[in-house]
C-alpha cells in the first residue's frame, strides 16, 4: 500500500444519508482489499453503533483524542481504534460526549487541526480514512474538513435539502480560503425516488446549480440499506447485488478516479 487518502462525508443538513454513504463506501473499499479506517465524529454515534461500539464511558474513542493533554502519538491513538467484525475495516468511535466539545474546547486556538494531527500519526496503517461528520458546522466538522482532501456531500433530492447544500458550499468555500487548499468536492444525490415528480424537479435544480461538482448518477431509495443497518452490516456485504449498492459501487469508481491521492494495493 502506498499512500492514504482522507475523505470526509459531510452536509450541514441531517438525514441525507451521510452514515449510509460512509458505511457502504467503506464496505466496498474493504472488499477491494484496502485497509479502511472509519472515524465517527457524530455525537449520535450511529456509525459506531453500526459496528457494535455503543456509547459507553469505557469505550475510548475520538473524544479521548480531542481531550488528550499529552502529545498525540501512536501509543495514545491506538487504544481508541477498534477492529470491526468486517475484514479490513477499523473504527474510531464517537459518543455523545462529543456534543459538548464545542462548549469545552470549541474556541481553543488550533483545536480545528487536532484530528489532522492524530490521523497523520496513524496514516501508514491505512489506505483510506472515511470521516462521518455531524450535521452541524462546529469544531468537529472543521476538524474533519481540515484533515481531508476530498469531500463527499450527500444531498437528498428534495428542495429543502438543496437549500441546505448552499450553506454547506459557502462553508466549504470559506474553509478553502482559510486552509489555502481546494477540496475535491462531490455532491451525491441520495434517496432518489424516481416515482416522485418533486424528486425529478429537485434533481434538475441540483444539476443547474451544482453541475460542476454533481455526480452524474444518483443513489436510489433502497430499503436494503435499512435492513443492512439493522443487521449491523454494510449493505455491500449484506446485500451486494442490490441497486443501492450497485449505485454506490459506481460512485466509488467515480471517486477513485477523481481524487487527489489514489490509494491502491501493491502486491
Amino acid at each position: 500500500m502506498t499512500c492514504s487518502a482522507i475523505w470526509t462525508v459531510a452536509n450541514q443538513k441531517g438525514g441525507v444519508g451521510k452514515t449510509t454513504t460512509t458505511v457502504t463506501l467503506a464496505g466496498l473499499l474493504a472488499k477491494q482489499g484496502l485497509q479502511v479506517l472509519l472515524v465517527d465524529l457524530d455525537p449520535h454515534a450511529s456509525l459506531s453503533h453500526y459496528f457494535g461500539l455503543d456509547e459507553n464511558d469505557s469505550v475510548k474513542g475520538v473524544f479521548d483524542i480531542f481531550t488528550c493533554s499529552e502529545k498525540l502519538t501512536v501509543d495514545v491513538i491506538q487504544p481508541c481504534i477498534y477492529a470491526s467484525h468486517i475484514d479490513n475495516i477499523s473504527v474510531l468511535p464517537a459518543n455523545m460526549n462529543l456534543a459538548t466539545l464545542d462548549g469545552q474546547l470549541g474556541q481553543s486556538p488550533g483545536m480545528g487541526l487536532a484530528l489532522k494531527q492524530a490521523l497523520h500519526c496513524i496514516k501508514p496503517w491505512y489506505d483510506i480514512v472515511l470521516i462521518d461528520c455531524p450535521p452541524i458546522l462546529g469544531v468537529l466538522m472543521i476538524n474533519a474538513l481540515a484533515a481531508s482532501s476530498q469531500v463527499i456531500i450527500p444531498v437528498q433530492t428534495e428542495h429543502l435539502a438543496i437549500r441546505g447544500l448552499d450553506k454547506m458550499m459557502q462553508s466549504l468555500l470559506l474553509l478553502e480560503h482559510k486552509l489555502s487548499k481546494q477540496f475535491v468536492k462531490t455532491v451525491v444525490p441520495t434517496l432518489f425516488d424516481k416515482r416522485l415528480r418533486a424528486t425529478a424537479s429537485a434533481y434538475k435544480a441540483l444539476h443547474q446549480q451544482y453541475h460542476q461538482t454533481l455526480w452524474s448518477d444518483v443513489i436510489p431509495i433502497d430499503t436494503h440499506f435499512r435492513d443492512a443497518s439493522a443487521a449491523h452490516m454494510p449493505a455491500s456485504h449484506q446485500f451486494p447485488n442490490t441497486r443501492g449498492v450497485r449505485a454506490y459501487a459506481k460512485l466509488l469508481t467515480y471517486l477513485q478516479q477523481h481524487k487527489v491521492t489514489i490509494p491502491h494495493v501493491v502486491g
Binding site: 456534543a99 469545552q104 474556541q107 483545536m111 482559510k178
Partner: protein, 236 residues
C-alpha cells in the same frame, strides 16, 4: 463569534497541538481546584465548601441565558429526567458521563445524589428528579396540603429514581453534574423558538420553554450558582 473568526481561531497553525498544554492548563487548574475542594471521602465539615447548606444568598450579576448565547441559532442537548424533557445549550455543558454508583454523603440535602470521581474529575451529582422537579411535586403537594412552598418545611420526596439514572450531564466547567434518565437528542434551536423568562423571578434556573418540544430550557449558570449556594430549585 463570527464564523470567520471562529475558523481563524480553530485553524491557528502555530497552536496546532490540540489540547495544548497552555489551553488545558487553565481548565486543569480550575478542575484541580474544584477537585481538591471536593473530598473523595467527604466529611460533613468539608461539604460546605462545595455545597454550602441552604443559604439565602442570591445569584447576582448573571446575564440571562438568551443574552449569553452569541448566535441566534444554537445547538442544545435534550435529555429526560423522570419522564420530563429538559434542554440545555451544548455550549454550556461540560461533558456527559455514564451514571455510576455514587458515594452518598450523610447530612446532604435530599437532592444531592452523591459524589464520584470519573476520569480524575470530582463530580458532585444532583438527583435531577429531586432537584428540578421539586417544584412540580411541591406545587401538587402544597395544593393538597395547603402548604406555602417557600416558607413551610419541605417534605422529602419518597420517589427514588436514582437506580434508573443512565447519565450525568456536567454543567459548565463546574464540578456539578445532573443525573438524568435518557439522552434524547441534539437539536438546533432558534432563539425565537423559545419563550424566554425573566431571570429575576422564581426559579431563575428555568430560562424558558422551547415552543416546539414543549420542554424546559435550563439556565445552567443560574443552576450552578444555586447549587453552589446550596439552594433547592424552589428557593432563591
Amino acid at each position: 463569534m463570527l464564523l470567520d473568526e471562529y475558523m481563524d481561531t480553530l485553524l491557528t497553525e502555530s497552536a496546532a497541538h490540540l489540547p495544548t498544554k497552555t489551553t488545558l492548563a487553565a481548565s486543569l487548574q480550575t478542575l484541580l481546584q474544584s477537585v481538591s475542594e471536593t473530598p473523595t471521602n467527604a466529611s460533613p465539615h468539608s461539604f460546605s465548601q462545595v455545597c454550602p447548606q441552604q443559604s439565602n444568598e442570591q445569584p447576582e450579576g448573571v446575564q440571562a441565558l438568551w443574552q449569553r448565547l452569541p448566535n441566534k441559532m444554537f445547538p442544545a442537548l435534550l435529555f429526560d429526567i423522570a419522564g420530563v424533557s429538559v434542554a440545555a445549550p451544548l455550549a454550556e455543558l461540560g461533558g456527559i458521563h455514564s451514571y455510576v454508583p455514587l458515594q452518598h454523603i450523610v447530612g446532604r440535602p435530599s437532592w444531592y445524589a452523591g459524589y464520584v470521581e470519573i476520569k480524575g474529575q470530582g463530580i458532585n451529582c444532583i438527583d435531577g428528579a429531586k432537584w428540578l422537579l421539586l417544584d412540580t411535586h411541591l406545587d401538587k403537594m402544597a395544593g393538597s396540603l395547603h402548604l406555602n412552598t417557600t416558607t413551610d418545611v419541605i417534605p422529602d420526596i419518597s420517589y427514588q429514581p436514582h437506580n434508573e439514572y443512565q447519565y450525568i450531564v456536567m454543567l459548565h466547567e463546574s464540578n456539578w453534574g445532573i443525573a438524568c434518565h435518557n439522552l434524547r437528542d441534539i437539536i438546533l434551536i432558534d432563539k425565537d423558538d423559545v419563550n424566554w423568562r425573566d431571570t429575576n423571578v422564581k426559579r431563575p434556573w428555568l430560562a424558558g420553554l422551547i415552543k416546539q418540544q414543549m420542554c424546559a430550557m435550563l439556565d445552567t449558570l443560574q443552576l450552578t450558582d444555586m447549587l453552589d449556594a446550596g439552594l433547592s430549585s424552589n428557593q432563591r
